[in-house]
Point group: C2
Chain length 289, copies 2
Amino acid sequence: MEHWDDLKTALHLLRGGTLAAAAQSLGVNYTTVARRIARLEQAVGETLFERLADGYQPTEAARLVGEYVARMEDAQLSLDRRLKGRDQRLSGSLVITAPQLLIVTHLAEVIEAFCAAHPEVDLQVRATNDLLDLNRREADLAIRISETPGDALMGVRLTEQASASFANADWAERIRTRPADRIDWAVYTGLGAVPKASLKAYPNAAVKVQFDDMVALVGAAQRGLGVVRMPMFLGRATPGLVQVPVLEPQPYPSIWVVGHKDVWPSAKVTAFRNILVPFFRGRRAEFVA
Amino acid sequence: MEHWDDLKTALHLLRGGTLAAAAQSLGVNYTTVARRIARLEQAVGETLFERLADGYQPTEAARLVGEYVARMEDAQLSLDRRLKGRDQRLSGSLVITAPQLLIVTHLAEVIEAFCAAHPEVDLQVRATNDLLDLNRREADLAIRISETPGDALMGVRLTEQASASFANADWAERIRTRPADRIDWAVYTGLGAVPKASLKAYPNAAVKVQFDDMVALVGAAQRGLGVVRMPMFLGRATPGLVQVPVLEPQPYPSIWVVGHKDVWPSAKVTAFRNILVPFFRGRRAEFVA
DNA sequence: CTCCATCCATGCACATTTGCATGCCTAGAG
DNA sequence: CTCTAGGCATGCAAATGTGCATGGATGGAG
């Protein structure tokens, strides 16, 4: 058990299932993975993987290895976070993540202010709706729209939010003048139905199309495909959209900034929060009804 | 934090204090240690050790590293033991440890029987009174003379024991014929005094010499330097020594076979116990009064 | 059935890592 | 004060580890 790197390699192979997958996640060539595994098996004196045509099939011993090496990895990730957390420099790398649309409408301004205030910091923004793993330091700080801070251990609520219905000017006019006409909805896949709260006042409504992406949904609304439910800030900030009375303003998950408790005290993370939080305090009106 | 081996190197350097010490415990050249530490500091972006004339002095960050890498090592050692424990082969390496004198008098026979029964096993015996660390698998199985099984988690008492006073034939004769004469004791360093229990019957006694090694003490007794307190089995098995009535038989720590619970079920360890335990059951009389 | 996309094994050349030899520095003994 | 032992840095050559290219095997799509 000389080579801890070989153990790490075995863990990645267990997760990836194939040499190529493990190699990619490790950033090495797959032949290297094969050789490290061979060396590890030599050291352990036991076969860890059956070489099959469709990948390396782990033996029971390999699963045992995986169990304990995962603990090693946990310790390593904790160390990584702790070192990040005690970093008092305002230079070097900082990784944040946020939903694309929030960046477009508001965060770009925050990011710009942060970059101006701390030009030495090498800021990287990961714009995605995916929940990146803050334990693995896929990001140091996350801005999320959700009921709870999520998997991270520290969080500050930036603002509560409401949602409402928006559409383009044509639709707004039509709804105002002929409220009994059929109303087309464009909705997010998964919801798949017209919001119930709107049916009492506007029962003549149906889903016309579903999208699995919020950016696309916004585009659809601009184009006039129908009425879309979205958070207030997004509807208000999108050119060509106006609020329509089809769906009264409703509660919507809050916006949080969350981070791992180990990383939270870091100078760069603190500095970012110190710009982010006041920004949202000052613009609260854009998010609520 | 790419290279886990560098983290391991830092741990050894923290423990050893110097490049040379760390290098030796890792089995590499000390220049390698220096270079791995340099690479690790690069990766962490922080100085971990101050280079001083008398060694590498850890910074606070290095101690943080040490704390978490020790956890990684714990996991690795656990894995090592678990893999050893599930090994059902009766071949390969088996490491046992026992006190030298017990090997000389009794265990040699057990070891011989084991080697005969399992010739494929590569048995290594570490003859020492030091308590090897079974957590670190410095040995798979330990035979120990102590009140408790010690740091290991599984143990079987092989036999209880008594101790008594022994001396060579000259002394035995002298004590028998002139019991009031002064009695010389040779004792183990640390005890440093004549056993109290002997003073009532033989008050005219004094320590003549102290030894820090039991083998040497036995030799001294054979040579006639005086009376020595030792476990029954040792006095009885040592040529030239006879029991003398100066010290009545007294309780003495039992003999245990102990091992880590993870390693205990291993085929080789079990096989060794299966020879060891019956052997002691059958020879109990040699250990008690 | 054939083609193609994956996946794995292996030989060879290159890159990186390691060990060794040398030299410098410091602290402590004589 | 000198001398020595222990500790560290560095250049160079050998050993080891890695990537690339090629070839073989398998399973699913057309």
